[in-house]
């Protein structure tokens, strides 16, 4: 135990508060004290005490045999941990989080925040937070863990007053129902050698299924790369869906969770992996509870021998959706992306070769194997192949997840799937891939939406989060909203992103943008940032300047 040296500390020595230590020990129970459990353990403290004090950090550090600064830096990295210094008061027991990201801002989130803050309710803290993944029902506020869609002051306050603060369990297909309808049979067929591993990988390759988290790396190819790596290999499933405008993973999870679990177990078989880690964002509290339940049901009555499946909980950090940052977070560290090479497939979780896949990518595996590769690849439009789950929000009649052919244009999507624009709104522009995919004007409404098709226009589709805005909105204001988001979600590791996003926000708040300087800055951020966050952050501002010049006159 290290000695504290300050004037006070020198006299006080190294004592940790034994009562607090006992409390921490009880809270942790029999769970491992390994480093990778740090964030899980911090959650337990936060859940129990609604904050994490300095004394908690010291006691937890002692209990886990970690340097206190490593516990502190990890805890303060994640926004869902309220680390409170000895000199400060702990926050009120209830937090209401008001989403301030693109769609919610368009639908009055700021006003909602100010109204709630204005009520000054004791025992309640109002926070502005980034996208909570319910953009189809904007604006959204989360009371404790209870998401209130289409929120207004009265709905939110009444939930708070009624202590209605827990996330509801989604009404998803249960394990029994899934099994009854033929679920896990494909997995059983795989493990009982009715399928050959290489054949399954070939089916996936032929289906043209691509990673649906945003990068679009072909799934079958990734599996075959993993198969060539040394044992043990690990699998990490990314449900840290945080890109503003994206909610498709939650959509499928809330309805049919076993479909992705089966896909993951098939991947586990196909690449001969050992353990599986599932990382779910903390904002999806209801889904997490449901998953805990369904995984327990699966383990209770397994269709075949199961590997260890670890469910890990994010803690409010968009960056942990970046694959290497997620791995760091699963290891119990700050979510700071790693430099590549080496790639995650070679050196990933705990230093092992790791297959990291977006949840939705695994959702389609079973169907593709059962129905054949053509079933998936034959869908598509304008020369593109496959299906895309578009999370559509904004000024349209029918926001939500729309499963549509890859390559569909925005105009087709609005007309055929979204019921047209909202009354009184004229289509003006759209984000084709969340906050980081850039902004396109209505005049470019006929570009096929898919991987690879938007790059020539300085945009990309990413997780297929489409935010449609109208003549009542401002591309310039939305670009600033996006940059604020990146500023607050930058991990702080590399200069171009950490300093660049902050400087960009300051410059973009000025009444007249210094466009030349912003362009110079954007170029360096795109070229020199470590990960996709910093590299993509300037896209909205560049697009705003390029495609909406009238707003800068």
């Amino acid at each position: 135990m290290k000695r504290t040296r300050g004037k006070k500390g020198r006299i006080l020595g190294t004592s940790v508060d034994q009562k607090i230590l006992a409390g921490i020990r009880e809270l942790l129970g029999d769970e491992p004290r390994t480093r990778d459990m740090l964030i899980e353990h911090l959650h337990k403290i936060q859940d129990r005490y609604h904050h994490i004090s300095n004394a908690h950090i010291l006691a937890l550090a002692m209990e886990m045999k970690l340097p206190r600064t490593e516990v502190f830096e990890t805890a303060t990295f994640y926004h869902h941990f309220d680390v409170v210094k000895d000199t400060d008061d702990p926050p009120p027991p209830l937090t209401i989080r008001v989403c301030e990201s693109l769609t919610c801002e368009m639908f009055g989130a700021r006003q909602l925040h100010d109204e709630l803050a204005g009520t000054g309710s004791p025992g309640i803290r109002i926070q502005s937070v980034p996208c909570v993944g319910r953009c189809h029902s904007a604006p959204v506020a989360v009371v404790g863990n209870n998401p209130i869609e289409n929120a207004n002051k009265d709905k939110v306050l009444s939930a708070a007053q009624n202590n209605d603060i827990e996330a509801g369990l989604p009404d998803s297909i249960t394990y029994q129902d899934y099994r009854r309808d033929g679920g896990y049979q494909t997995l059983i067929d795989c493990v009982s050698d009715k399928y050959n591993r290489n054949d399954v990988i070939k089916i996936l390759e032929e289906s043209n299924l691509r990673g649906l988290g945003g990068a679009g790396f072909p799934v079958g190819k990734k599996w075959s790369i993993l198969k060539a790596q040394a044992h043990p290999r690990l699998i990490a499933i990314n449900i840290d869906e945080g890109e503003p405008g994206t909610f498709k993973d939650r959509f499928y999870l809330e309805r049919d969770p076993h479909r992705f679990i089966e896909g993951t177990l098939i991947a586990h078989w196909a690449i001969e992996a050992s353990a599986i880690y599932i990382y779910i964002r903390d904002e999806y509290a209801g889904c997490r509870k449901m998953l805990e339940h369904e995984l327990a049901a699966l383990k209770q009555d397994p269709p075949c021998d199961l590997p260890d499946i670890h469910l890990r909980r994010g803690a409010g950090a968009y960056i942990c959706g970046e694959e290497s940052a997620m791995i760091e977070s699963i290891e119990g560290k700050r979510g700071m992306p790693r430099l590549r090479p080496p790639y995650v497939a070679e050196v990933g979780l705990f230093g092992r070769p790791t297959l990291e896949q977006n949840m939705e990518s695994m959702h389609w595996v079973r169907d593709i194997i059962e129905k054949g590769p053509d079933w998936f690849s034959s869908k598509g439009r304008n020369g593109r192949k496959g299906l895309r789950s578009f999370s559509v929000s904004g000024r349209i009649q029918k926001p939500g997840v729309h499963l549509a052919p890859a390559g569909i244009t925005i105009r087709e999507l609005i007309d055929e799937f979204c019921g047209g624009m909202l009354p009184g709104h004229e289509f003006y522009g759209y984000f084709p891939g969340g906050a980081s995919g850039g902004i396109l004007p209505a005049s470019m409404g006929d570009v096929p939406l898919d991987f690879d098709t938007l790059q020539p226009h300085d945009c990309f589709i990413g997780s297929a989060a489409i935010i449609i805005f109208s003549d009542r909105d401002s591309a310039r204001a939305l670009a600033l909203n996006a940059m604020r988001f990146f500023e607050s979600e930058s991990c702080g590791q590399c200069t171009p992103c950490r300093v660049g996003t902050a400087k960009a926000v300051t410059l973009m708040k000025q009444s007249k943008w210094n466009q030349d300087l912003l362009k110079e800055l954007s170029r360096a951020m795109e070229d020199a940032s470590i990960c996709g966050l910093g590299q993509a952050a300037p896209k909205p501002l560049r697009c705003a300047m390029q495609y909406f010049p009238e707003e800068f006159d």
Binding site: E73, E487, C494, S529
Partner: protein, 934 residues
């Protein structure tokens, strides 16, 4: 520190950089290869010796075929790769990053904290001028630490400090907390640095590129007149450093890339140098006033002139020598004795022992090795024929299994500890066996917190397991040892199950550690005073040696025995004969061949009888057989056990000459005091724990009329009729080469060129042997190692109803031994300004006390009071106290019982009782010595 990338493997990769084909060797990165070819690529977060992190993005280069730019500090080139660092695209990012960072500097201008900001240098080089971005909201300065100023308004968040703290020194104090634009370098839990667990090693300061972390008081803005390469004056690790001097004042110290520190230093080495400039330095010779009779009381520095008067050197030397000569002529040579010092150079130690042997005519010459590793040395000489370490720390840190027993290197050999922690982080198994836990234990795979004084049981239990499970190395035992059969029989009574309850360690753990050690492909044992400072210290060391012989874990790279030497030159002082039983090179005084050699070398007749040791000399004074004593640099009035007895002895002397840099406690009993030179004021060689002979160079002049120690010794010698003329330390060194053939091949010129040379080195030009006992050949008469059985001997004074606690004495990170140097250092004394007693929190609670309350500690020999400090590292029933504090001198309590072989006192075990004190108890023991700087 990792070796330079690339030098391990010889693979060559040809690639194209800026149109020119160049070669990267081994694992070199693009940046490394570029540097070697004098192609400049700007970089900030990269620093030689630290893991490249690639976060600043200043060193970006374009690689053909890649979408984004790549950080050249992290990327290794592949064959044929086309890399460009100087085209418009790469330069744009490099300059933009510099501009962004510059925009957040104070006043958006050059760093106000250092003259050598790397950000400023690269900005100038790339022509980045006034930044065009608005500045961030700047953090407040943190000036809470006495040594280090934290100005995060100049921080570029490159995390060099963090990597220095966490990965290099492994102190784990600095973190990078919060997120994004709010990210911040923090200490512990974002506490002021001065209140954090920072150990002030200053590695972060050395690593910081912009001056955000700098030595306090704007020292970074002083351009030194000259820089002198030297060695650290404190512990046996022997870190190389550079003194930065302006106006005869050491402004600051940098770590140098020495073989045992690779640029690292600890708080003492980096910030503990200012004692040399303390106003209390002795600057003129002093002679006791005739009316000032000697008592056992300590004299306060501000009362010195009540008892002493100033004298000229001529008068003081005449007086000093006359007193010695009178005793020699009246009472004979054996009535005289000398105490040397392990802080002095080899040359000083050599000349002093020669003075005592030749000039006094006696072997009554000893030094603090007696209080330190005498028992280890006696066991090593007896069993394997050499008292020095078999393997160096750097080599031992590469071992698969590292046992640290009876040592707390993170406190006492801090820089060595960093390499041990690095090893543990790399995956070596670290076994710590210690009654008193430490930061090192956090990194240990096994921490055996044994009951004090039960080492022989534990080690015999381990060896019993090894034999029981047939894990001994039969071949090695057969070919390289003798005495095994008898030894084996002796172990019979020490099964792990039997010793477990005595040691307080589960039998399974003892067995597991035994197997781990026995079956390791490389294994080293480091030990310290916890082994040696017992009445069974020699037995403890014998067990460790037997353990190595039994398993054959000796005589190979990263495999052997390493008693961690305490003082910076205790190895050297012992080597050159500052020991009563041996001449230089450990040649026994009773060996006629050896005696003949030295009689010839020194041209005199020598005393054939071994002299008395430190504690024996004190007894001999009490019995009136020793009347005169010459003490150079030692402080027995603080360092000896049972101080009341020792101080009484000193007061009884007819004539006491003390040569020192401060008015030490020992000076209170002097008849004449000769003001000497401090470490940076002289040139000489020092031998570290690794058998590395290293050159310390004079950096500043001594204050006032203080003189070089070599000059003083020669002046005394001259007055005793010895006509010595050593004009320079190198001339003494030449004689040492003759006296000690192991160092015969080391030349002064080589030391000047290389700073550090390892012995044994018989012939000039040889590299020096880093690993000795190669192939299991020992320098004993028969070339074999010898098993010596160690029966368990109880500590001399066991706890009982009246004295129920065990007291262990030791040191603190900030304070060196009796505090003569460190208590006079502003920084060190500010961090640890007073005595405290470390006690288990449960024990403290039983007294109804809290940390910070006064505790009285009493033994059969004395009583002191100090502040209690609850420490989870202490086991119940055991307390620890550092002996550096004159206000509450722990050695008033300690037992002077001796180990029969090494004659070392049992500092690590005595029985005490504790009871709550009040603030007024403080007055009982407070000494008037002032340590403040005017």
């Amino acid at each position: 520190m990792k070796p330079k990338p690339g030098l391990k493997s010889g693979k060559v990769t040809r690639f194209i950089l800026n149109g020119q084909t160049i070669e990267a060797i081994g694992d070199e990165t693009i940046l490394h290869a570029a540097k070697r070819h004098d192609i400049e690529i700007p970089h900030l977060c990269y620093k030689e010796g630290l893991r490249p992190d690639g976060n600043c993005r200043t060193c970006m280069v374009e690689i053909k075929g890649e979408r984004a730019l790549a950080p050249s500090c992290c990327r290794q080139p592949s064959a044929g790769m086309e890399v460009t660092s100087n085209n418009d695209r790469a330069l744009h990012s490099q300059k933009m990053v510099l501009e962004l960072l510059l925009s957040d500097m104070p006043q958006q201008a050059k760093s106000p904290y250092t003259l050598h900001s790397e950000l400023d240098e690269w900005s100038d080089a790339l022509g980045v001028k006034t930044p065009r971005f608005p500045q961030r909201i700047q953090p407040q300065a943190d000036l809470s630490h006495s040594a280090i100023a934290v100005n995060l308004d100049a921080c570029i968040q490159c995390t060099r400090c963090l990597r220095a703290c966490r990965e290099e020194q492994v102190h784990d104090v600095i973190g990078y907390a919060y997120r994004g634009n709010h990210s911040k370098i923090v200490f512990d839990r974002d506490e002021p640095m001065g209140e954090s667990t920072c150990v002030a090693c200053g590695e972060c300061v050395q690593a910081c590129p912009t001056g955000a972390l700098m030595p306090a008081k704007n020292v970074g803005l002083i351009e030194p007149d000259h820089r002198v390469d030297s060695v650290c004056p404190y512990c046996g690790v022997g870190c190389l450093l550079t003194f930065n001097v302006k106006n005869n004042y050491i402004q600051y110290v940098n770590g140098r890339d020495g073989p045992s520190n690779h640029g690292r230093l600890c708080v003492k080495g980096r910030y503990g140098f200012d004692y040399v400039h303390h106003p209390d330095r002795l600057t003129t010779p002093l002679i006791r006033r005739p009316e000032a009779t000697k008592t056992t009381e300590i004299i306060a520095p501000d009362e010195v002139y009540k008892y002493f008067r100033e004298a000229s050197w001529e008068e003081a030397l005449d007086f000093a020598t006359a007193g010695l000569r009178k005793i020699r002529d009246q009472d004979g040579s054996q009535a005289l004795a000398g105490f040397g010092c392990a802080k002095g150079s080899n040359e000083e130690a050599y000349l002093l022992q020669k003075l005592v042997r030749v000039g006094f005519g006696t072997n009554n010459i000893d030094h603090c090795t007696r209080l330190c590793h005498a028992s280890s040395v006696s066991a090593l000489l007896e069993t394997i024929g050499s008292g020095a370490v078999s393997n160096q720390v750097a080599d031992g840190s590469e071992a698969d299994v590292i046992i640290v027993i009876g040592a707390r290197p993170d406190t006492n050999h801090p820089v060595a500890a960093t390499f041990i922690k690095n090893a543990a982080k790399r995956g070596s198994k670290l076994v710590v066996i210690e009654p008193y836990g430490s930061d090192l234990c956090i990194h240990a795979s096994h921490f055996l917190q044994l009951r004090p004084g039960t080492d022989v049981f534990l080690l015999n239990g381990m060896m019993h397991t090894i034999i029981e499970e047939n894990l001994q190395n039969e071949d090695f035992i057969q070919q390289h040892t003798n005495g095994f059969d008898e030894f084996c029989k002796h172990l019979h009574d020490f099964s792990a199950d039997k010793v477990a309850p005595v040691c307080g360690i589960p039998a399974d753990t003892i067995k597991e550690v035994a197997r781990l050690y026995a079956t390791a492909s490389t294994a080293i044992i480091f030990w310290g005073m916890g082994i040696s400072q017992h009445v069974h210290g020699t037995d403890n060391a014998r067990c460790l040696i037997s353990l190595a012989l039994l398993t054959g874990q000796i005589g190979r790279p990263s495999t052997g025995l390493h008693p961690l030497r305490g003082q910076n030159n205790v190895q050297g002082a012992s080597d050159v004969g500052l020991i009563p039983m041996v001449y230089p090179d450990y040649r026994s005084v009773s060996d006629p061949v050896a005696r003949e050699k030295f009689e010839k070398l020194w041209d005199c007749k020598l005393d054939p009888d071994p002299g008395l040791t430190v504690v024996e000399i004190m007894h001999a004074i009490h019995s009136n057989s020793i009347r005169g004593l010459y003490i150079m640099g030692e402080n027995p009035a603080m360092s000896d056990p049972n101080l009341n007895h020792a101080r009484k002895a000193l007061s009884l002397l007819e004539h006491l000459v003390v040569q020192d840099i401060f008015f030490t406690e020992t000076c209170s009993y002097a008849d004449v005091i000769l003001p000497a030179s401090a470490f940076p004021e002289k040139t000489g060689t020092f031998t570290n724990t690794d058998r590395r002979v290293q050159l310390g160079n004079k950096a500043i002049d001594p204050p006032g009329n203080a003189r070089q120690d070599l000059w003083i010794i020669q002046e005394v010698a001259r007055r005793l009729g010895l006509d010595w003329r050593y004009d320079h330390p190198r001339e003494v060194f030449e004689e040492i080469r003759e006296a000690m053939p192991k160092m015969g091949g080391i030349t002064w010129e080589r030391l000047e060129n290389e700073s550090s040379v390892t012995y044994p080195l018989l012939k000039e030009g040889d590299p020096g042997e880093t690993v000795i006992f190669r192939d299991g050949v020992f320098p004993t008469d028969d070339g074999l190692g010898r098993f010596v059985s160690a029966m368990h001997v109880e500590p001399a004074e066991l706890p009982d109803d009246k004295y129920p606690f065990v007291l262990i004495t030791g040191r603190q990170l900030e304070h060196w031994h009796t505090g003569t140097m460190t208590r006079h250092s502003r920084v060190l004394d500010a961090i640890e300004p007073g005595p405290s007693i470390m006690i288990n929190p449960g024990d403290l609670k039983q007294f109804g006390l809290l940390s910070g309350d006064m505790l009285v500690m009493e033994s059969r020999r004395g009583k002191i009071a100090a502040i209690a400090r609850a420490d989870e590292n202490m086991q119940p029933g055991v307390v620890m106290m550092p002996f550096a504090f004159h206000e509450a001198a722990a050695n008033l309590i300690t037992n002077d019982a001796l180990d029969p072989y090494g004659k070392i006192p049992e500092f690590k075990f005595c029985a005490v009782t504790l009871y709550p004190g009040s603030r007024s108890d403080d007055l009982v023991t407070v000494s008037p010595r002032q340590t403040s700087i005017a």
